[in-house]
Amino acid sequence: MANRTIRVDYLARVEGEGALDLRIQNGRVTSARLKIFEPPRLFEALLRGRGFAEAPDITARICGICPVAYQMSAVHAMEDALGITVGGQLRALRRLLYCGEWIESHALHIVMLHAPDFLGYPDGIQMARDHGSAVRGGLALKKVGNELLRLLGGREIHPVNVRVGGFYRVPSRAAFGPVAEALKQARDLAVATLRWVAQFPFPELERDYEFVAMRHPDEYPIDEGRIVSSRGLDIAVADYPSEFEERHVAHSTALHSVLKQRGSYLVGPLARYSLNADRLPAELRALAAECGLGPTCRNPFRSIIVRAVELVYVVEEALRLIAAYEPPDAPFVPVEPRAGIGHGCTEAPRGILYHRYVLAEDGTIREACIVPPTSQNQLSIEEDLCAVATDAIDLPDNALRDRCEQAIRNYDPCISCACHFLRLAVHRE
């Protein structure tokens, strides 16, 4: 086992590029470093000097997979700075748009990017030959999510219909007819997907994460709530900077976000579910239990089951929101520029996404700060890698490499947001 090096030049089924160095000395994992080497994308600097109303469209360009998350956190932060509240059906439409993004993002990751790991296929295309029904279901689910984005956002990637205060235009009730019918079928597909992934073989691993997610008094968190953790954190969104900070590390062009008092933490489906399982409908909680999930889940490999539970939830939530929809009197709340500081945080499919803006009197952006979920999870990914490699240290090199890649894909990392991803090298000494 001594003096071995395992190298993967390019890790598939993640968005973007980067590298990971795993060092093993005398049979012990000594470090796992996520090396993100994409050039910084400088969006925060790009936003300075632009008008407040431009933020949702500019920040949507950060990610082709979760543009709605960027738009939602941006508009919430701007509305906080400008002293307006968006409620009623406008808020419901925002949540519905967000449901569309969760559906397409979760369906794609579960079926095409993550499932092949558990079933022993090199990719989703090879897997489709033997699991055609599951793949067709995943694609159909993704299509429904796309339809919601097209209907509410104007197009499925980088939607253009979101503005500070609401939307540029809102749909009629009748416009939801076809997508509502598709969602009814999608609900069955999502349940089938959940039952399918629940049968996968899962490596045994329990991690002592500090979960961080949003929490709402009544709802499973997507677009509103306080920020809470499994170790007692319970803060308003505006207090995010006092509890969290971003640190530069030499081996990554993406900043690492940490809790100032305690270091690494986990955001995303495991955290969201473990802190909010009681906010899911009772029927879905029962289904989750039937699929082997307790009220918390600390095995990162089982995140695929949690995503599938969330997939069922957002399909049902979308149907609920459509059934209750009445077109609002106006598509947006009027907005007047003023000087201010605003904070926004929403639950992107991969975890909380925080925005902060400082505005001048005329609404010009003076400062911008954006903390994407993958940046927040980088330390946890490195710690998972240490734990996974330690447990699997006696595996042959190829199997160890595969297990490490699978552990990274547990996070559905979006390096387009944090920068990009991933080459993997294992050094044994």
């Binding site: 968005e15 489709a128 793949v135 067709r136 299509k143 796309n146």
Partner: protein, 162 residues
Amino acid sequence: MTGLLVIGIGNLDCGDDAAGPLVARRLAGRVPPGVTIQVRTGDMIGLIEDWTGCDGVVLVDAAAPVGGPGVIHHLDLLRDELPPGLSFASTHVFGVADAVGLARALGQLPRHLIAYAIEGATFEPGAPVSPAVAEAVEAVATRVAADMHRLATGLAGLPLAR
């Protein structure tokens, strides 16, 4: 033949990656009634849903340079392998080849699936389309329009001129 579709693939704001959408734009008014023309950017996995229910599909995309900017490749994607070194320009997880492979595995390929790949020189955001590619765009638009007329009038198969 029913269900004819042309998909221009690419980003209008990224230099020669605009080739596909520009061909789609040039086809307006030059194809028979009932032929659908659309543009797709980003993730190509959606191609499968785009062509569901279509018998004849033509894709037009930019390709990484092999021979030189503006070189046109004509491929029967149900039969041909991609020429060595030629790849469709994509920054996303799933590209055109992945979508075709997945559709093949799922039995969801159209009866005719043709691609025109136009080799590009630069794909930088904000860059203009290079002159050789702009010239190739018109040539490909003419060929795709002819393909669509032949298919719409029921002539078997698509031309294989290269």
